[in-house]
């Protein structure tokens, strides 16, 4: 057992660092986008439409990863798109985590009618097709960054609530919690001081996974053209554009796809790495 | 002529190299019962497992021979070795509650070896299963054959496993502490049943146990193990009259009497343990040099 786990840790090492490296680069690109992007991501030039990337024949210097059908620079749009992707990941991920984990904690620890109401709500939420639900919400809320964030929070809180509820329930049944209560502490303070610290590793792992999911949801919403205004550079929007011109200009699709792929993979590897290292429960 | 001969068998843990068996030699003659005794961790179960080719994957054999009916098992390729063992030997496992597959009915678990390995017709195998269940005194065997394991008691399941072990008339059966997991009241009956079956079928039996009382009742000869090493290999009569090794004497003194299980639990004296450990160390040095 013991050396088996050591092996897992050793293997998790490089994956963890590579993931952190990619996410760090991404964060840097997002922060410095206006200074490091070689072109204006919105500038159109129909004479320079569908230029291939730098290594292919017919490439134009300065347009490293080519241009889309409107002549917009793919690399610059990618860099600016990282801003939105990471904003959504951080903000939507954190708010979802806060709300979902709180509800799960309350349901799992307080039990009784609080648990009944929250569990029933989770059941109902689980019966919704999530992608359709998010598209519906965006249609209702109107396009824009805050709408995307609200949609993600409204849909994904159950991911946290389900796991944290089960976890809090298991912890609540343990002796140390009972002894804390006998010692005359209030239920709420027991929850925060005794249960929360034990559930925290699980929550952190779920949070990293949720950030990856948020990036995907944003891309999906941009893809069906319901995210932000259509001009703004988003990875999902670039993918939608790339999908339509896939036979003429594959590079418009492939670069945002690679960026999205690596980002999602990194978030989940980060979560896995943290799980192996710190979480006694999910491990 | 002995049916099973183990010669200089050594095994160790993969990775750490911790020795599990130290040049173990023993032989069991056809129709004889040989006991393997020792405290837990002495390696007695490992010998039985090595013979049947079911050592845990973390244990590797480093040297020695295991001859079953004159064939060196370790020289055979895995598939052939398994078939050979399946056709000539069988296991009565320790815990009847976990040794039957919960999702299969009893009948195929008794007959599968007959049909799949020995090529019997299904009808003949089923008739044989019925006969065997009668023989191990299971009431209403037709119903039991149609049952799932969880519908039967522990004692009943052990009877089925015994029946299954004798199904193919093997020449050798390894009984791996077959009564330890059972209720005290059932233990005696099962022990008696195994002894009767062995006598009637004339099967050689390798009986793994930590209970010298059991050995005195069913075995003709025994090997005493400590730390994976055979410290004494002797006929049962001689052993109980005058155990040769200090560790054997201590073990015998520490064994509760059958009639009064709780009485006289004398622990093995530390001096004896120190002595036998010194022997182990000397043995390892010898093995390294020779």
């Amino acid at each position: 057992m013991a050396d088996g786990r050591a092996q897992i840790r050793r293997r998790a090492g490089p994956r963890l660092w590579l993931s952190a490296l990619w996410l760090g680069l991404l964060a840097l690109a997002a922060l410095l986008a206006p200074w490091i992007a070689p072109k204006d991501p919105l500038a159109q030039d129909l004479f320079l439409g569908r230029l291939p990337p730098f290594w292919a024949a017919g490439a134009e210097p300065g347009y490293w990863l080519g241009t889309d059908s409107l002549g917009r620079d793919v690399l610059s749009r990618l860099i600016h798109g990282a801003r939105l992707a990471l904003t959504v990941a951080l903000v939507a991920g954190s708010i979802t985590c806060l709300i979902g984990a709180t509800l799960g904690l309350l349901a799992g620890y307080l039990r009784g009618w609080v648990d009944i109401v929250i569990s029933r709500a989770i059941d109902i939420w689980m019966a919704f097709p999530p992608v359709l639900f998010s598209i519906l919400l965006i249609a209702v809320l109107g396009p824009g960054l805050s709408s995307i964030i609200i949609a993600i929070v409204v849909i994904d809180w159950t991911r946290f609530a389900r796991v944290v509820r089960a976890e809090a329930m298991a912890q609540g049944a343990m002796d140390y919690v009972a002894s804390a209560q006998v010692a005359g502490r209030s239920r709420l303070s027991t929850m925060v001081t005794e249960i929360l610290p034990n559930v925290l590793p699980t929550i952190v792992v779920l949070l990293t996974l949720e950030m990856g999911i948020a990036v995907i949801v944003e891309a999906i919403l941009s893809f069906v053209n319901l995210s932000i205004s259509t001009d703004d550079p988003t990875w999902g929007g670039m993918i939608a554009e790339g999908r339509t011109s896939i036979h003429q200009a594959w590079w418009v699709l492939i670069f945002p796809l690679i960026a999205l792929f690596l980002t999602v993979l990194s978030f989940s590897q980060l979560g896995e790495g943290l799980k192996d290292r710190y979480d006694p429960v999910l491990r | 002529m002995s049916f099973l001969t183990v010669t200089n068998l050594s095994a160790r843990l993969k990775g750490t190299g911790f020795p599990i068996l130290r040049r173990v030699s023993l032989s069991v003659a056809a129709g004889q019962v040989h006991g393997l005794v020792g405290e837990s961790g002495a390696g007695k179960s490992m010998i039985g497992k090595a013979v049947l080719g079911i050592l845990p994957s973390s244990v590797e054999i480093t040297e020695g021979r295991i001859e079953l009916d004159g064939v060196d098992l370790l020289s055979l390729p895995l598939k052939e070795r398994r078939r050979r063992i399946g056709a000539t030997a069988a296991l009565i496992p320790q815990d009847p509650l976990t040794a039957l597959n919960p999702s299969r009915r009893i009948a195929p678990q008794v007959t599968d070896r007959l049909v799949d390995i020995l090529g019997w017709a299904r009808a003949r195998a089923n008739a044989r299963a019925l006969e065997l269940l009668h023989e191990v005194q299971i009431p209403d065997p037709e119903r039991v054959l149609r049952s799932y394991p969880h519908e039967l008691s522990g004692g009943m399941r052990q009877r089925i496993l015994i029946a299954s072990a004798f199904a193919a008339e093997p020449k050798l059966i390894v009984a791996d502490e077959p009564t330890t997991a059972l209720d005290v009241t059932v233990q005696k009956q099962i022990l008696k049943l195994i002894a009767e079956m062995q006598a009637r079928h004339g099967t050689a039996l390798l009986f793994v146990t930590h209970d010298l009382g059991v050995v005195s009742k069913v075995c003709q000869s025994l090997s005493v193990l400590y730390g994976g090493m055979v410290v004494e290999d002797t006929p049962v009569r001689d052993f109980f009259r005058a155990p040769a090794h200090a560790y054997s004497r201590a073990l015998l003194a520490a064994t509760p009497k059958y009639t009064d299980p709780m009485a006289s639990l004398v622990p093995v004296p530390e001096a004896v343990i120190a002595g036998v450990q010194a022997e182990l160390a000397a043995f390892d040095r010898g093995a390294r040099h020779g």
Binding site: I124, M126, F128, V131, L132, A139, I213, L253 | G86, E151
Partner: protein, 336 residues
């Protein structure tokens, strides 16, 4: 008896869930800004026209009253009329349902086969590099969602090595003799294997995209479960009977390892069905999900409602079936 009571209780909670879904969808889409009726009429329509049509669709009444009207209609099998298509919602939805069902089931079959092969190979090769490789592949398949796999497949097998169709459900120029919308199924019944091949070639990519994450989950859970089972005494006993490792894995360990995997796969299958929405969009596959996105974009309230309810019914039905089959497959529960 016990089983029956559990079943009835599950039926009751399922009903509550479905009512909850209906209420939420109903309220959410009625907060939609912009009048959907105005969008349907040609420019220059008068306010009177709009008011008349609004009344015709019952959209002028208070929301609770609208809900009661709608719910009583649903109980009689009337889901209202689509605003854009001007056809009964039920007809439209049932017309598209076969396409989505066929896609989901094909994806499930692929996932079970892929996941099963991964788990069995991994168990057979436990402790070797092959197992480590399978673990890495599983981990990657699991972390990346169906949407991205769909895009990867489009690039690989639609553009780089164009062997499959990446758009639509069937080649439009083909003459279809079908009387139902279960194209895949009916093409087999009619022995039209030319059409069947065309349909499969259209379905395979979206189905595979949906299947990859589920295959990884099945592979991982089943392998874990198999490895635990391989240590049990009855597996060891079967080795002493003379059986080879393949037999031991598939006959002794597998039947017992499948059960714990099954319940989890049930929930995951509903996720897969939920994924059809975006995958159908990505592959321009004419199923329910594609229709749903169009309905949202066109603000077709009755249609959106109908589709969401149908999805909810499918999800809860899948969960119910899985729970039941779990009870039926487990001999301990069956006879206990």
């Amino acid at each position: 008896m016990q089983l029956l009571r559990t079943f009835l209780l599950r039926l009751l909670t399922t009903a509550i869930t479905l009512i909850g879904v209906a209420v939420i969808v109903f309220v959410v889409i009625r907060v939609v800004p912009g009048n959907p009726i105005a969008m349907m009429l040609p420019p220059g329509a008068t306010d009177e026209d709009i008011a008349r049509l609004t009344a015709q669709y019952g959209l002028d009444k208070p929301i609770p009253e609208q809900f009661l009207i709608w719910a009583s209609g649903v109980l009689q099998g009337d889901f209202g009329t689509s605003i854009t298509a001007r056809q009964p919602v039920l007809d439209l939805v049932l017309g598209r349902l076969p396409a989505t069902l066929e896609l989901s089931i094909m994806a499930l079959v692929i996932a079970v086969i892929l996941g099963g092969v991964m788990a069995l190979t991994g168990t057979r090769a436990r402790g070797t590099k092959v197992e480590a490789g399978i673990d890495v592949a599983n981990g990657m398949a699991l972390s990346v969602p169906d949407f991205l796999w769909g895009l990867v497949l489009i690039l690989l097998f639609g553009v780089l090595v164009p062997v499959f169709h990446i758009s639509g459900r069937v080649t439009p120029s083909l003459d279809l003799p079908f009387t139902t919308n279960f194209y895949l199924f009916e093409s087999v019944l009619r022995l039209r294997f030319d059409l069947w091949a065309d349909i499969v070639s259209h379905m395979f990519m979206p189905a595979l995209a949906l299947a990859i994450p589920l295959a990884a989950i099945i592979g991982q859970l089943l392998k874990q479960s198999l490895k635990e089972t391989m240590h049990l005494d009855y597996v060891t006993l079967s080795r002493t009977k003379g059986y080879g490792e393949n037999h031991v894995i598939t006959r002794e360990a597998l039947p017992n390892a499948i059960l714990p995997t099954l319940t989890l796969v049930g929930v995951q299958f509903t996720f897969l069905i939920g994924g059809t929405v975006i995958i159908e969009r990505l592959f321009s596959y004419e199923g329910l999900g594609n229709m749903a996105i169009d309905a949202v974009i066109n603000r077709d309230l009755p249609l959106i409602q109908g589709i969401v309810i149908l999805f909810a019914v499918i999800f809860t039905a899948v969960n119910l079936v899985v729970d039941l089959s779990y009870a039926l497959l487990n001999p301990r529960l069956r006879h206990g």
